[in-house]
Amino acid sequence: MADLRPENPYVEERKADPSRKVVFPPDAQKRFDELLPRYPTKEAVLLPALHLAQEVWGWISPEVMVYVAKLLDLAPATVFGVVSFYNMYNQKPVGKYHVQVCTNLSCMLANAYDIHDHLCEKLGIDPGQTTPDGRFTVVEVECLGSCGTAPVVQINNDYHEQMSVQKMDQLLPRLK
């Protein structure tokens, strides 16, 4: 069946490539081992393990899904089901700075769309895309729980509150 979703990252790379080996580096492996005794089942470690994998590789590639599935005795399909359900797992590589602009109601009423559109225009990318130099990915996200200091822009793990187009322009050159 033809895949109708142009943005589906698995159109070209649907299957994991066994020749690409992924293994946790020792420090990540140590953190993974510490997760296991905190849960009564292995499967419950899936979300934290995926967070860890994303910290290591920046995104969850099909090979990572197979690797994590093996670590937790799960089917790769189960892991794919979880990865694709949750917003925060990147199913394709993202830029060094993952710029997430909240546009939900409170932020929208504080002109969040202006910030979002300005970023896309200035960086010359469509929403969801990454700049050719791999520095920025701009996405629109749902409520980040910072409505009192709207509009909020999350860059990687950090919140930038009470933003504006001007403040964004001042911030961008500092993100090298």
Binding site: Y86, S106, P127, C143, G145, G148
Partner: protein, 436 residues
């Protein structure tokens, strides 16, 4: 009514998140007192405080605890719902970032009361990375001082807490969705019954409480149920954090005894509307709550009063909309949210939320038809009450209330193919369609 500082009492201190600061202001005394009581007695105290859950449904906390079977054969679990993702709500984040030990103490006491297994979890939304870091640090401080871990303060009670980060899904704030997610699955809500108090996470009886609810527990123990009831009005008791956002001069989190007047909150405490603007609508309880008109806001913010007014207190996320905003545009944004966050399990919600979004978008783009307002109501009728969890019901709240209260504006949109004069759309229709 004057603002109070009860839940927020420690937050102004420079190093409020540290255990030293917390101990200085009498922290962990309530835990010591609780451990001298029987678990059943702690439940009774919380029950007699009449506290209602702060997560949105307003269910009495003590009663929820007492639903855990007395002779449970499987481990009992206590989960803290810190998935705060209701648009307009940002109170739990404040507690976790500024006073994490208040939450931790509340969890240990609650865990003791429900005879929880030593494993308990704070399910925090993945985006709250900073709050999760603060919590991890606070948990370690508490372990070092013997407030967490094995044989807490010599009582024989073992209890520890793990911070479990979600990964960006609104539905995981629904308690059975949260349970599924914690087990490592997609966060799709479960059929009830069995209710979590009987069969919850990992097959054991489970109590899921909101951050603010758990943070109230040490206060109830140390100051007494009668003190708690002296704040607020009967059946709507205790201190409450109200989150105000949108087009007011001073948005933020405000603490009052339950039942501050909404009009007073907006015009006196939040400084009123932005200059030259007038109030158009208020969403009183997060995105799911039906809108109120300016003449409906002279109302105490309690669970019961808002329900009577046809809306709900929910998570007390108050979003204020002024007369510069196009109501169709605002409702479209909320519809887009619910369409994105529907978990896809139940057909009416999965399909219906997307239809509502498309229809509102079409109206914004000038393609609306005369029958569209009624069509929206018809769609809402086919979503509400027809899915497993409350997301479908939440999604129709803003749609139904806005069609009923702003029908003229909808009609204007359809007839003139533009927003009502003097109102604006906050997004550009020519912007590239998001891949998100």
């Amino acid at each position: 009514m004057e603002p109070i500082k009860v839940l927020t009492a420690n937050m102004d201190k420079p190093n409020s998140m540290s255990i030293d600061s917390y101990l200085e202001s009498g922290g962990y005394e309530a835990l010591k007192a609780s451990l001298k009581m029987k678990p059943e007695e702690v439940v009774e105290v919380v029950k007699s405080s009449d506290m209602r859950g702060r997560g949105g449904a307003g269910f009495p906390t003590g009663m929820k605890w007492s639903f855990v079977p007395k002779n449970a054969t499987k481990p009992i679990y206590l989960l803290c719902n810190a998935d705060e993702s209701e648009p307009g709500t940002f109170k739990d984040r404040l507690i976790m970032e500024k006073d994490p030990h208040l939450l931790i103490e509340g969890m240990v006491i609650s865990g003791y009361a429900i005879k929880s297994s030593p494993m308990s979890y704070i399910y925090i939304r993945g985006e709250f990375f900073y709050a999760a870091t603060v919590l991890e640090k606070a948990l370690q401080e508490a372990r070092d001082k013997g407030f967490l871990g094995k044989n807490i303060l010599g009582s024989g009670f073992d209890f520890d807490i793990t911070v479990h980060r979600g990964a960006g899904a609104y539905i995981c704030g629904e308690e059975t969705g949260l349970i599924e997610s914690l087990e490592g699955h997609r966060g799709q809500p479960r059929v009830k019954p069995p209710f979590p108090a009987v069969v919850g996470v990992f097959g054991g009886p489970t109590v899921v409480n909101n951050v603010e609810t758990l943070a109230c527990v040490p206060l109830i123990i140390s100051k007494g149920a009668d003190w708690f009831k002296s704040l607020g009005i009967p059946k709507n008791t205790g201190p409450k954090l109200y989150c105000v956002s949108g087009q007011v001069k001073k948005p933020g989190v405000y603490e009052f005894p339950m039942g501050v007047n909404l009009k007073e909150l907006i015009y006196q405490h939040c400084g009123g509307m932005l200059d030259g603007r007038k109030l158009k609508a208020v969403i009183p309880g997060g995105a799911s709550a039906p809108m109120l008109l300016p003449d409906e806001i002279d109302i105490p913010l309690t669970f019961d009063a808002l329900m009577k007014a046809g809306s709900m207190l929910g998570s007390a996320g108050i979003i204020v909309i002024d007369d510069s905003a196009c109501i169709v545009d605002s409702v479209w944004r909320l519809a887009k949210f619910f369409a994105h966050e529907s978990c896809g399990q139940c057909t009416p919600c999965r399909e219906g939320t997307n239809w509502m979004e498309s229809l509102l978008d079409r109206m914004e783009r000038g393609g609306g038809r005369q029958e569209d307002a009624d069509l929206l109501l018809d769609m809402a009728d086919n979503i509400g009450g027809k899915s497993l969890c409350a997301l479908g019901d939440a999604a129709i709240g803003p749609v139904i209330s806005s069609v009923k209260k702003f029908r003229d504006e909808y009609v204007y949109h359809v007839t003139h193919k533009s927003c009502l004069p003097g109102t604006r759309r906050y997004r550009r229709l020519d912007a590239p369609v998001g891949a998100h």
